[in-house]
């Protein structure tokens, strides 16, 4: 039996600018994988999709405690850096940019120590995207939530709140350790 266990699966069923997944991180695991597939927008105005974490109290953590770095890899150009210090979310974590289907985006995240209140929550992310009829891109990067606080869920949101998401499926897996 695989040590990587599916814990939760949820899909966007109507146009939303943000989507929350609650109560998936617990004391049972300290490494998690999140996959986000088929992320698309309503209409043809493309958007970035960012990440915030959800605290144990159920509130979205939007304080300026996110630190991230990433590289963009563009099919039409070279690569470039994305940097962020003391930000209120992780820019382009789920999608560099996505657009109306069939130009969907997909991503994989590995989350470390979300339920610990003695260590920062950290993540690795990769995403693959196509948008505006022309642009293929990929990203890979990392982020920290510099806050000693238990995190129990996550929040995906479009960056300007006016280009809603039409579809997307979020699966959360826990990586079991047998002692």
């Amino acid at each position: 039996m695989s040590n990587l266990r599916l814990l939760d699966e949820q899909s966007i069923s109507s146009s939303v600018s943000a989507f929350s997944v609650y109560d998936v991180f617990t004391s049972d695991y300290d490494v998690y994988q999140i996959t986000a597939t088929d992320l698309s927008t309503t209409g043809t105005s493309e958007t970035e999709i960012w990440l915030r974490f959800v605290s144990e109290s159920g509130s979205v953590i939007s304080t300026s405690n996110y630190e991230y770095g990433a590289r963009y890899f563009f099919a039409w150009a070279g690569a470039s850096d994305l940097n962020g210090q003391n930000q209120s979310g992780v820019r382009r974590c789920f999608a560099e940019v996505t657009d109306q289907s069939p130009e969907v985006a997909s991503s994989t995240l590995w989350i470390f120590n979300p339920y610990s209140d003695t260590e920062y929550t950290s993540l690795l992310f990769e995403n693959s995207n196509y948008y505006a009829g022309t642009y293929a891109s990929q990203m890979r990067g990392f982020a920290h939530l510099k806050k000693l606080e238990r995190v129990t869920g996550f929040y995906a949101y479009d960056n300007n709140g006016s280009r809603p998401l039409a579809s997307g499926t979020f699966r959360t897996y826990g990586l079991r350790v047998d002692s």
Binding site: N3, V31, Y68, G69, D81, H144
Partner: protein
């Protein structure tokens, strides 16, 4: 993707080396490590491959790597080395808020007639602190079967860490 655990070690006291063995097939394996910090500020966690013949670390000068270190506060740094005696990370701190986590994919370990390969993605906080995400890979240029990984500190000891190897099936 299914992951089946083959080795696990949780440190209960500081040590200069941490060795995990248990790789017995040539399938890809993934080593996850987390909460690794050191007894000396700025000490670098490094790792070597262990020989299937006797579980000892290969300390020869045959480790080669290339990597892209991504930062939150500056542009990326590309690095590469030949003829080293280990793979290594970046100096880190002495507390749980200045630590390392990451995943290392281990390829072609048990084939004694060709080289072994590692691909890593890491998240770390240095002693400064800076926030860094190295992505890289390397080869151990020796025709030898390997069965695991040995972590060590370049100075002082590893103070804390949890390490698990899974086989990809």
């Amino acid at each position: 993707m299914a992951l089946v655990q083959v080795a696990n070690h949780t440190m209960t006291s500081a040590a200069n080396t941490v060795t995990l063995t248990g790789i017995t097939t040539n399938d890809p394996h993934v080593l996850f490590y987390r909460d690794v910090y050191m007894t000396s500020d700025g000490a670098v966690p490094a790792w070597r491959l262990t020989k299937a013949s006797d579980d000892s670390a290969n300390t020869s000068s045959n480790y080669e790597n290339a990597r892209m270190n991504i930062y939150s506060n500056q542009g990326k740094y590309d690095g590469a080395n030949k003829s080293l005696t280990s793979f290594s990370a970046i100096g880190t701190g002495t507390t749980s808020s200045e630590c390392h986590q990451g995943m290392i994919t281990l390829m072609n370990f048990t084939d004694s007639s060709s080289y072994s390969y590692s691909i890593w993605q890491q998240i770390m906080t240095t002693e400064t602190p800076e926030y860094v995400g190295p992505h890289g890979g390397g080869s151990l240029k020796v025709n030898e079967a390997h069965n695991g990984v040995q972590f060590f500190a370049n100075t002082g000891n590893i103070a804390n860490g949890r390490f698990t190897i899974y086989k990809v099936v």
